[in-house]
Symmetry: C2
Subunit: 248 residues, 2 copies
Amino acid sequence: MIKVTIIGSGNVGFHLVNLFHNSTKINLNEWCSRSIDFDERVKVINKIENLSESDIYVICVSDKSITEVSDKIQFKNKLVVHTSGSTPYNSLNNKNRRGVFYPLQTFSKSQKLNYSEIPICIEAENNKDLETLKKLSQDLNCKHYETNFEERKTLHLAAIISNNFTNFLFGISKEIIDSKNLDFNILKPLINETVNKIHKLDPIKAQTGPARRNDVNIMKMHENMLKNEEIKSLYMVISKMIKEKYGN
Amino acid sequence: MIKVTIIGSGNVGFHLVNLFHNSTKINLNEWCSRSIDFDERVKVINKIENLSESDIYVICVSDKSITEVSDKIQFKNKLVVHTSGSTPYNSLNNKNRRGVFYPLQTFSKSQKLNYSEIPICIEAENNKDLETLKKLSQDLNCKHYETNFEERKTLHLAAIISNNFTNFLFGISKEIIDSKNLDFNILKPLINETVNKIHKLDPIKAQTGPARRNDVNIMKMHENMLKNEEIKSLYMVISKMIKEKYGN
């Protein structure tokens, strides 16, 4: 069995420990965390200097700490991967064989996930390690995609737009609804359906709404309703982009 | 049984015919459509002048045609409702009793819906008709919400933002992914999870991403990757709003 060490206990590290622990085909050897002292499923160490030997070290730390953490791994010629969408593998110290294991998903510690639905973007310096990362993904029941740095960066950017930005719009909607003492739950079936649609229709073809059909009266009414100048301006910018895209 | 006539065969009319037809507790008497000649489930007429008598007339036409259509109904003292989120009930001709039956959902003819998950915003000039609209919603197995015009407009605005605008962002993401010959399917589990989260976490609290944590390097990299000036500008505007909201 592949022996794996997870380094880091932020949102990604936290969920990868769950993911790796759930697999009967992987030996989750160790979890290195500065903030956690005990976990019943896996041996925990607090200091990276105390790492024991594993086949793969999975670094789950902020982008800017990846190099430093990889420098501190005292082993050589091991497979060391990071989990970042926006960092090249050569940010890792080259005393080890380097790769990337980027789970394209949004992680919150309080939110349970269907782990079989996490796409893993993998990359490795050499083919043998790429095969190992493929095997690792399969042992985790995850779909994997071989992606180079350019491709990974592109996916990460698209992920920001379709996850972070849409969540921000959900937040704006909630505030608008809260401001009139209405119930945000009324909107949830619509939000569900917005996403159901993308599984069947190309979102570009599925576009609807006042801007799509250039309904000037409705747009004007909405602009007048929005008292927050930044949100009003955002409403106008996106409406303009939709209008232009669809030739209105 | 309540006898209902649907007027209009756009996306809303099309789906309301399905919805009303599926209920065993409602008599779907007639469908008035200029463009459809025959439907095996319901009598179809092409001219509004030929309407037969029903208890309720549900007008599913564009906002700007609601008044004209309501004028043409030759009956008096019937319950006539429209299905618009942004139109007051007094746009309807007052020879009939007036109300609103606004299904807060996104409708595409090609997309099947879970009809039990459509919230219906109802409003009526008099209490007896309001009770009738409540009963109608229940007979359709739909949740109903009593909302006045101000509330309905607010919900409609929030719906535009969380449906039309997020779909537009999904479209931008898809174009970014297509431009590098990557597969949009890679992003779908993330998009699913973005929506799963709102059922458990307040979207305002669930916000993550480079702008939330003010990761200037990533944001700069993304701006450089975006060659379309409008999309780049949108990226910057939303990132700025997120940064400001979370005090960065």
